[in-house]
Symmetry: C2
Subunit: 340 residues, 2 copies
């Protein structure tokens, strides 16, 4: 009947025959696992956990494909990282698709394959999902919402709230900043760059595991996504009895990221990352954690970027390369829409 | 700075100051609970469960507000019902919003209030969430994705797969069919009806609890949403060593639902419900379950609508009021887009 077998039709979201074939031919094919394959409305999961971490994110990135990743990989990494930084082991993800009528089936398959590959790397399962199709023009190509569950040890440490942070603690990050945001911006604007910028989009759960294994003095972790490292630092100091001091010279900003930031007028400190975690570590363990991170492929360029100080209460400051000092505030408006 | 404090701006999705004020002034205000109020990227939850049910759904209903509900209520009920029909107790929900720039803040607040009220009724907590804002014209007003976690007893029965169904079992439903789909259609088309049609949109977890308490012979449950009761019946029989026989005269279809179905050319059997659960119950317990359902506000009009038969293997049949018989097949295409 339909000549457009290569396009998403409204019927793919109807709950009828086309929905079923989409589930079997695409989602079950690539995400295959016991829970998903049951094809019941709820996945039934073996968990045996006293405490869990639970997180959700919607992804609306534009363009869908960019150097270093795509919306599918991003949707997996983003949710995994939110769980991992809480100290939990990510186990199960759900994935819900809102798709514009007419979206090429080939692109959907590419996205789903990419999700599947990233799920394998991170060792998590995509166990349940949903698909809605809206009329042409009612959404922009495809949006994906992933929700994740991670398992926490019964006696887990609080590394999310920041309440455990002490004066003298060191701040570490696992590499360069601003890569993801500028990769998306350069792809969106089809900028002609000498060297293309790759997004740092990555699942960090294995890297984070290593850090938690070598030290029991990890006091805080957060992945620096929307709003960049600057926003995380501003939030982290807010209302606290400590200040944060960052050395600009210790931050790694790739040359091409720096150029495009200058060109477009962005401060790399506020540009989104998708594979960077900020860790606050007791000073006695900082070098040990740094060395462990450096041995992992996702942490090769890790560095200590600053420390928790007994002054500037409630504020984050950065010492600039020319010797000055400026405050790191939160972003007031939208810097870059649809970066994730 | 902004004159448009009453509208959603791109900055509300930036992860910066505006995002934070949206979270505090709206989400934390209405959804308030210990886990959410921490405002960490992952909610940390006390669960103590061996097994859980995990489900997700995106809601793109158009219009957002309709008699008997709105997109917010629907997003809570839909996810709760998917968990409840698996036999689990729904506990925690996440909620992710994709919002079009310029969306009225007043409408968002109305939706969030409605979610909060339904969450209270169902006794679940909304513990984590996300907000993305896309440029005007890049999505249609607002989409909501809810994901839920329910707790299952260690030795829970399988009531999702249909594998426990036996010949002779009775089929029950907790009231009239087609209400939700036709409520949305009449609201969308601004039809001038004598009596308005209310959506049946409801959280069924308390009702389902009652059924599971009075009988250990509940063999299967599913909420009949997209694709309607017809799709559930067609799926339930598919590839099985039994058939299903439904009596058309036992189905309740409200007069105004019937009229609008005739007017628009829909078969009520395939029209979406959002507060209806199909149960398959051992025949010896069917009356007991029926009576228990009838005592609950969401089950007053429950009835036995058919049985599992030792013929028509793999097929569902319906005997029509004029004595004929027709097969119930799955929907081939999209009947009603954006009904949920």
């Amino acid at each position: 009947m339909h000549k457009q077998k290569d396009r998403i039709l409204l019927g793919h979201g109807s709950g009828g025959k086309l929905t079923h074939s989409l589930i079997s031919d695409l989602f079950v094919k690539y995400f295959s696992n016991t829970a998903l394959n049951q094809q019941t409305d709820s996945a039934i999961l073996d968990l045996e956990a006293d405490n869990i971490a639970f997180t959700t994110d919607s992804f609306v990135v534009d363009p869908l494909f960019f150097p270093g990743g795509d919306i599918g990989k991003l949707a997996i990494c983003g949710t995994i990282n939110d769980i991992a930084v809480s100290g939990a082991t990510p186990l199960f993800l759900s994935s819900s698709f809102i798709i514009e009528e007419g979206f090429p089936m080939e692109h959907l398959e590419k996205i789903v394959k990419s999700m599947s590959a990233e799920a394998k790397y991170a060792r998590i399962q995509i166990v349940t999902g949903d698909t809605k199709v809206v009329n042409k023009g009612k959404c922009d190509k495809i949006f994906i919402t992933t929700t994740g569950i991670g398992k926490l040890a019964k006696k887990h440490k609080d590394i999310s709230s920041g309440l455990k942070i002490k004066i003298g603690d060191k701040l570490l990050i696992n590499g360069s900043i601003g890569d993801h945001g500028m990769a998306v911006m350069s792809a969106r604007n089809e900028l002609n760059l000498k060297a293309s910028i790759d997004s740092d989009c990555a699942s960090l759960n294995h890297l984070i595991d290593i850090a938690l294994q070598v030290s029991d003095k990890i006091r805080f972790m957060r992945d620096a996504t929307r709003g960049g490292l600057g926003t995380v630092l501003a939030e982290l100091a807010k209302n606290r009895n400590y200040g944060i001091m960052i050395e600009e010279t210790s931050l790694i900003i790739k040359e091409n990221v720096k150029s495009i930031c200058e060109l477009l007028g962005f401060d790399p400190l506020y540009v989104a990352n998708e594979g960077k975690v900020l860790m606050v570590v007791g000073k006695e363990d900082a070098d040990k954690v740094l060395n462990a991170l450096k041995k992992h492929e996702k942490g090769k360029n890790s560095s200590i970027i600053g420390e928790i100080v007994d002054q500037y209460y409630g504020k984050s400051w950065i010492t600039t390369s020319i010797g000055g000092k400026r405050i790191i505030d939160m972003l007031a408006g939208e810097q870059l829409p649809r970066i994730c």
